[in-house]
């Protein structure tokens, strides 16, 4: 922990935190319009000499009120040439994203223009912003709390609709608020315990004891709901891993390609986690899905032996959902069955591929005989049938992970998860201690432990890992 912290500090240190920093705030690549952001005291004075307003009615940049804009030309002071015509917006401290003075230039989005503008501004004395620096400044200036700051990165990186909605809720402070609510409840319980401990001669322990049991139960349930939600939340940021597996020629790569064509592909042809897999990323009903074809397997002759290879097994074990493709003829079914039983995967679904072939009915019946409890799915890449059922199965699997009410904001960050796990553990121990006849001093100590963990989650308690890698996860420009 300490090592990481040190590295982060070191990278942060190269910058004097309150110089003016600059970066392109819109995504990399060519676009119609791009935004270049400067943040730091004196940003207006810095840009003023190279910004020539189109009309005399615009005041100098440093005299512009906050939340106003001006149209003008950016002229190179060296060559006197026009670089671009831009719209300049001024924000004054503390009413800006970073809480500092901010200038935003809306310029044309060609790579060359962006680069020239950045070069010019750097030559005027600004410094290139580091990844996440604008958000870090916003956090340091008290504009965002820790959970909100972390939500910014989720929001930027959100690739699907569900991910974005959840990140927006986090940014709004929904999770912070709900955690504060849980903390409040814990504080009240602690206060009642302390009252009894502090004034032993004014005994009110009977009423407090009943309150305590009920209160701890309730809080445990609440925290637990959020912890459970992480299995969905994690998928929203990291994606759901769906693996296509099966013997050689079961139709895995055809199915992968078919799904890639019908669903919104986020990324295609991602190199797999190992050389033996092929992976694409698609959006199924707002759920980011990594679709993995255990490609290497199909090329080998001895599938069983190959499956013994740890990395392939790992891919399957860590999958959220595995479709085991079985293609006619029926002959190899016994082998499939052996492998599937060996794997002992929870989320394994047998899928009859190439359902367009004649033998498939016989195959289905044979499978039904082997796994009477399983719903057998079928699909045909040729006819397109069954693809929708696969899609539904993915959505269903995602939804079955969540145990909480619809409106809850989901935990997406493993740091949050670790804090909540620790809070939950303490509350559980406190409840067990209460029922096990352990003295109240211990119970109070456990409740405090839980509060500490929650405070670390919301950033109210600063552990020395506070400025840890959180901000280094950001892309430049935010």
């Amino acid at each position: 922990m300490n090592g990481d912290y040190q590295t982060v500090l070191d990278t942060n240190l190269t910058s004097q935190d309150h110089e003016i920093c600059v970066a392109v705030a819109t995504p990399p690549g060519q676009s119609g319009i791009a935004v270049i952001r400067l943040s730091g005291k004196g940003a207006a004075e810095l840009i003023d000499p190279v910004f020539k307003p189109v009309s005399k009615r615009f005041p100098p940049v440093f005299s512009m009120p906050g939340y106003t804009c001006a149209v003008g030309k950016i002229i190179s002071p060296v060559t006197g040439e026009l670089i671009d015509q831009v719209v300049l917006t001024r924000f004054t401290a503390p009413h800006s994203y970073t809480g500092e003075e901010v200038i935003e230039l809306s310029c044309h989005g060609s790579l060359a223009i962006k680069q020239s503008l950045i070069d010019l501004i750097l030559s005027l004395g600004a410094r290139a912003a580091e990844p996440g620096e604008f958000t870090k400044r916003a956090f340091l200036n008290g504009k965002l709390d820790l959970i909100q700051a972390e939500a910014v990165i989720d929001l930027i990186q959100a690739e699907t609709d569900r991910s974005a909605r959840n990140a927006a809720a986090l940014l709004q402070g929904d999770l912070s608020q709900q955690m504060m609510f849980i903390s409040d409840n814990l504080y009240q319980l602690l206060a009642s315990i302390e009252l009894v401990l502090e004034y032993p001669e004014h005994d009110e322990s009977d009423t407090v004891s009943a309150q305590l049991a009920a209160g701890l139960d309730l809080i445990e349930q609440k925290i637990n709901r959020y912890v459970q939600g992480f299995s969905q939340g994690r998928i929203l940021t990291e994606g759901m891993t769906v693996v296509l597996a099966g013997r050689p020629n079961a139709g895995k790569s055809s199915l992968l390609n078919a799904l890639a064509n019908t669903e919104r592909a986020i990324v295609t042809d991602v190199p797999g986690t190992t050389r033996d897999t092929i992976e694409i990323k698609i959006d199924i009903d707002g759920i980011p899905v990594h679709l993995v074809d255990t490609a290497g397997v199909r090329e080998t002759e001895d599938t069983v032996e190959k499956l013994g290879v740890a990395r392939t097994r790992d891919v399957l074990q860590s999958a959220d959902l595995v479709f085991w493709l079985i293609a006619p003829p029926v002959d190899h079914l016994q082998e499939d069955q052996t492998i599937m039983e060996q794997l002992q995967l929870q989320s394994l679904v047998p899928l009859v591929s190439k359902d367009d072939l004649n033998e498939s009915l016989a195959l289905r019946q044979a499978i039904e005989a082997c796994w009477p409890d399983q719903t057998i799915m079928t699909c045909s890449v040729l006819t397109g049938e069954g693809l929708d059922a696969i899609r539904k199965k993915v959505i269903e699997t995602y939804e079955s992970l969540g145990a909480q009410a619809q409106n809850d904001v989901l935990l997406t960050n493993s740091r949050h998860k670790a804090c909540l796990d620790s809070a939950l553990l303490s509350v559980r121990k406190a409840r067990e201690a209460l029922h096990g006849g352990i003295t109240w001093d211990i119970i109070a100590s456990l409740v405090r432990g839980s509060l500490d963990a929650l405070a670390e989650l919301t950033g109210d308690a600063v552990s020395d890992t506070l400025v840890d890698t959180i901000f280094s996860r950001f892309c430049v420009g935010k």
Binding site: G437, V462, V467
Partner: protein, 650 residues
Amino acid sequence: MKNVTAALSASGAYLAGEYDIIVIGTGHAGCEAALASARLGRQTLILGMNLDTVANMPCNPNIGGTAKGQLVREIDALGGEMGRAADRAMIQFRMLNASRGPAVLSPRAQIDRRLYQQIMKETLEKTERLDVRQGEVIELLVDADGHELRIEGVRLRTEAIYRCKSVILATGTFLESRIIIGDCQYSGGPDSQFAAHGLSESLRDLGLLLQRFKTGTPARINRRSVDFTPMEQQDGDPIPFAFSYENEENPPINPDEQIPCYLTWTTPQTRAVIEQNLDRSPLLSGVIEGVGPRYCPSIEDKYVKFPDKERHQIFLEPMGRNTEEMYLQGLSSSMPEDVQLIMVRSLPGLQSARIMRSAYAIEYDCLDPRLLQMSLEVRGITGLFSAGQINGTSGYEEAAGQGLIAGINAVRKLNDEEPVILDRSQAYIGVLIDDLITKGTTEPYRMMTARAEYRLVLRQDNADARLTPIGRSVGLIDQARWDHFQIKQERIQTEIERCRNIRIRPSAESDAVMRSLGTVPLRQPASLADLLKRPEIHYEDLEVLDPDRPSLSRVEQTAVEVSIKYEGYIRLEEERIGQFRKLERKSIPDSIDYRLIKGLRIEAQQKLSRQRPISIGQAKRISGVSPADLAVLLIYLQSLKRDDEEGKRG
């Protein structure tokens, strides 16, 4: 502002003596400070306005209680006096919270207050290098050459001038104090002593900000006018403990000679009297400006603030062995005398009570403790220390704890040694001083166990293990005491090890023992330690199954049991302490200029500049310093360190 030379030039002024350290005030803080200073080798003078009131207890006649009992044990473990004196003067002992666990187990004793005073005064008088003198200090004399003020001496009302290197202020509630009994208000200190006039002005003159606090005490009545039949009698414990580790095997009190307390309740008439006379309460009419303590409200306050509560507990506590006077705990009031009498008589058993001393409220000047450094030295005035109620606390034990630390640190400063600063995971004294200096206080500060984050570790049974090594290195623990301490710790450790290794096999005998203790019989062999972890089983219960055990004293047995039984929980707390210490160890150089740190919010910049925390951990506890400010500070400190390293390399 004057120096010694200027003071001596006044008519009638004379040089009365020269000392290393002068302690102003002979209360609980002053006594500990003076004793520590003299015992550590410094020529010391203790000055009090009235030597008949040395170590007076003008409020409740008891020492200890929740958190306060822990404080007394800590004072004793460090080599202070309060525990020893209390052991000799106690007339009743109770261990509070016996069923609530070792972390909150708190010793408390009713004290014969006259005897306590006598013991303490005699101790002062018989201490080498310590002079005890009656006299009122009205001015601190300082040398203002150079950019910092430095203490040079004190001036008394009689124009006696004493020269010294350090002063420890321990003036209690006497500064410009005012007594309030209903409409009757006059200048005066506790127990009808005189108020101290002049010193407040001298402190202001030195640039120190004062605040005004209020506290109060209930009426005392004559025992012979009380009918105890409707009351609940509260006896002392059949086997009392001692406060001092010196006495732990043989507490001086005779268990059979303990004097009981009594419990009674307020009645609907009490409420009626108060409600009818609220307009005569100076507290509620605004005559009293001082801020009173929330945890110790007057009875009229209780009725106003908790109107739903039907009745309140009132304890009758004896004031000593040779007096009929009794203290009415819970009935503190500033109502006029005539109302007080009706109020007292509205309680069951007190219908014919005769008041000996009226309840009163008292207002006094005290320092804002945020002016102090962690050593209890006043920031910006070299050699001026302060301890006790003048620092905004309430309670004898809180005062004594600060007095001891101020005494130790005044000496260490003169010896050019690092001050003793206890942190929040080491001692309640550490929590107390850290709270005062870091957060300040807006009401008289009372110690509570809830203020300690790590109270499973800060127990009354292990104060010696926590602090006696520090007391020894400071020089307040003599060889005999140190030997005793080491032997005790070794015996405890050896026994803990033995309990881990000795296994009990299931047998008819063990089944019988388990059943009699209300716990399940053994299914397989278990170590003594495993058995002790069951909540139902105590160390002494296992003697039958463990006939070869060594003979341990009662306190050693307790230490063994607590260490084993709570091992897992203590380990959890120690992990949290590890986290806490990481931040405490990130020290902030005293030379830091917060104005140079950009990104700190103005409020944080001002507060940090004023209070100058010694570590990131302490900075974090200052109100108005946000997590973001801390992040800024951390980054800045890291850059300082880097620059420094680069400078060394370059």
